[in-house]
């Protein structure tokens, strides 16, 4: 019984070792993606992929959830903490996904 348990733990450890590079690659990809997203947000504007219009991210934003209007990012409401992952382009109304 002990041998069986030991073999089970060893197999599990081996699986973790095999899975390690996959998880590492996954985390690296996610980290890269996050870096690009943050750099886009820091630029302060996003070009619409459909019509090319330059949409400002920071403006007099209106929260769709609580209705609060405030100067700041259109992606985040400081009152209700709502995070907006996408918004419609100001010109062509195509949905622009940011987060």
């Amino acid at each position: 019984m002990k041998k069986l348990t030991l073999a089970w733990h060893l197999t599990l450890a081996l699986l973790y070792v095999f899975a390690l590079p996959i998880y590492a690659a996954k985390w690296l990809t996610r980290a890269m993606e996050s870096f690009f997203i943050v750099s886009e947000i820091r630029k302060g504007f996003i070009d619409c992929p459909h019509c090319g219009f330059r949409n400002p991210l920071d403006l007099l934003a209106l929260c769709r959830r609580c209705g609060m209007a405030e100067f700041g990012s259109r992606l985040y409401c400081t009152t209700c903490k709502q995070v907006t992952k996408a918004f419609p382009c100001d010109r062509c109304t195509a949905t622009i996904r940011v987060l």
Partner: protein
């Protein structure tokens, strides 16, 4: 340092699925930027036209760009290929530069491939873009073939080989013709009946003669018969088929379609003699011109000739005004356009295709015609198979029926407007306003229309949907062969010898093939003598009078 740290923390927060933390970190920056943005929006200077044009030009740029011209500032306007090859409309008066712009745009992808092959002859050679040019006025076709010939002269062996197998010509002249098999159904999804309807509808609508209902029906059924039998259009065949009952029976015995058989078996009863004669007169008119008669090759002979049947680039010259009746050229343009558009939904969408129809006004005049409906449907739907339709026209706003014009305007992605007054109205809502212009709206509009009516050659407005209209100067297109120091006659000789010869054959050869077919099918009835005798049943001999008649007729024979 703080900025980098903030950035790293924000990235980590987004990575672990807490973007709110990242956004909260940039809260103060967002606040300041939002205030600045709103302030600029409220009291900022309105953008100048130059700034608007430059911003629009930046938005249109992208991978594999096509040069559409230069802005007044001298900045070139390049439009990404996927946008540039979408459906378009080019408007303007004669001599304003429509054809030159078209040539500049269409030749660019081909030139790039040939230049790449000059640098590396071993790379995979493919034209990358498919093109179909139907020109009912000869000018664009003529220029295009000369440029292709000049390109062939400049190319290395790999480039020449690519051009020879990529360019197909459809043309009819005294010396050589492209064989045509309009009554050979090579479509998989289109029935023989519908193809016959398409052919008959085009013939009846483009013909200078009028067609009565009965004659139209006869035309449709006769086209269907030719398609069932894979026969070419031949006046001799038509005459014998309509006048010789035995011959007709023999022909109908080989028609698999019962509807066609039934119609022609009762032909003498259902079709008045005048209709038949009128129909034959029309067939005779359509096949009386030797260049056109020679082009109706029997499909079997076409299979044996080994000529190029399809190619990525097809140049179709249907200009007949100076050598042949215009109606016949228009008929063939409509047949070809219908064929290409009907085959388009099953094309490979990975390679973009541009279908160019010159002088589209004549084509769109009859809004009820089936080929017009096919074109308008194609404008709406073929974007899904990566195919764009480019129409050039003059006096578009006045000459095209309103519903067809509306469909074209709605379904084209970009519009080019050269010198024209009426067509200039299309662009007016998209013209960028000058900020300090204090004239009234109507005064501005009048001035704009006057300017468009007197626009210099090569100048045009480019309206890409979603952008302001850009005033451009079309790219310079030097005379073909100028850089090589070759005359235009030499270019034509090169084109005919190296490229057109792959898809055309001498008119005399085509006439011989047609004559052979007529001798075999029409004169001999395509029935062996023994079979012919067996068809004619003799009455049984039951008395002496029958026996006497039997010997008398045998002697006469």
């Amino acid at each position: 340092m703080v900025g980098i740290l903030k950035s790293l923390v924000a990235s980590a927060a987004v990575a672990v699925g807490r973007p709110d933390v990242a956004l909260r970190l940039g809260k103060s920056t967002s606040y300041a930027r939002a205030l600045a943005n709103e302030h600029a929006g409220m009291i900022g200077e309105p953008p100048t036209p130059a700034a608007i044009y430059a911003a629009a030009a930046r938005r249109m740029d992208g991978p594999q760009p096509m040069t559409f011209g230069t802005l007044p500032s001298g900045e070139p306007v390049r439009v990404r290929r996927d946008l540039g090859l979408m459906s378009a409309l080019i408007l303007g008066a004669t001599g304003a530069g429509k054809s030159r712009l078209l040539i500049a745009l269409l030749l660019e992808p081909l030139r790039q491939v040939i230049d790449d092959l000059r640098l590396d002859a071993h790379r995979h050679a493919d034209v990358g873009v498919e093109l179909e040019l139907i020109d009912p006025k000869f000018e664009t076709y003529d220029l295009f073939r000369k440029y292709v010939a000049a390109m062939w002269l400049r190319a290395n062996d790999a480039g020449r080989e690519l051009l020879e197998r990529s360019v197909r010509v459809i043309d009819w002249s005294h010396e050589r013709v492209t064989p045509l098999t309009p009554f050979d159904n090579h479509f998989t999804e289109i029935s023989n009946a519908y193809l016959a309807h398409l052919r008959a509808d085009v013939t009846a609508r483009t013909s200078p003669q009028s067609y009565t209902d009965a004659m139209r029906q006869l035309l449709y059924m006769f086209d269907w018969l030719l398609i069932e039998l894979r026969y070419p259009l031949s006046y001799r065949f038509a005459v014998r088929f309509m006048h010789d009952t035995d011959f007709r029976k023999g022909v109908l015995a080989r028609v698999p379609e019962p509807e066609v058989r039934y119609y022609f078996e009762n032909f003498d009863l259902t079709v008045p003699r005048q209709t038949r004669d009128g129909f034959l007169r029309r067939v005779q008119y359509g096949t009386s011109f030797p260049e056109l008669r020679a082009s109706y090759i029997p499909p079997e002979a076409m299979d044996e000739l080994g000529l190029m049947k399809e190619a990525p680039i097809t140049l179709v010259n249907t200009a007949c005004t100076t050598t042949l009746p215009q109606a016949l050229g228009y008929e063939r343009a409509a047949w070809r356009a219908t064929d290409v558009l009907c085959a388009a939904p099953r094309r490979n969408p990975r390679r973009p295709k541009s279908f160019v129809l010159e002088e589209a006004v004549r084509f769109l005049e009859d809004a009820n015609a089936d080929h017009v409906e096919t074109l308008l449907t194609a404008l709406r739907t073929l974007r899904s198979v990566n195919m764009g339709i480019v129409l050039t026209a003059q006096d578009f706003s006045n000459a095209v029926p309103a519903n067809a014009a509306r469909t074209v305007l709605l379904n084209t992605t970009w519009i080019g407007g050269f010198r024209a007054r009426e067509d200039a109205q299309i662009f007016w809502p998209h013209v960028a306003a000058i900020p300090d212009d204090r004239r009234t709206e109507s005064a501005k509009r009048d001035a704009y229309l006057r300017e468009m009516a007197g626009l210099a050659r090569q100048r045009y407005l480019l309206l890409v949907k979603g952008n302001p209209a850009l005033p451009l100067r079309a790219p310079d297109v030097p005379r073909p062969g100028e850089a090589l120091g070759v005359s235009e006659d030499e270019l034509l000789e090169v084109f005919n010898r190296e490229i057109a010869a792959k898809s055309m054959l001498p008119t005399a050869t085509a006439m011989r093939l047609t004559a052979e077919w007529e001798a075999k099918v029409v004169e001999q009835g395509e029935l062996r003598p023994s079979e012919a005798k067996s068809v004619r049943r003799k009455p049984p001999i039951t008395n002496l009078a029958d026996l006497k008649r039997f010997f008398t007729t045998s002697e006469e024979e």
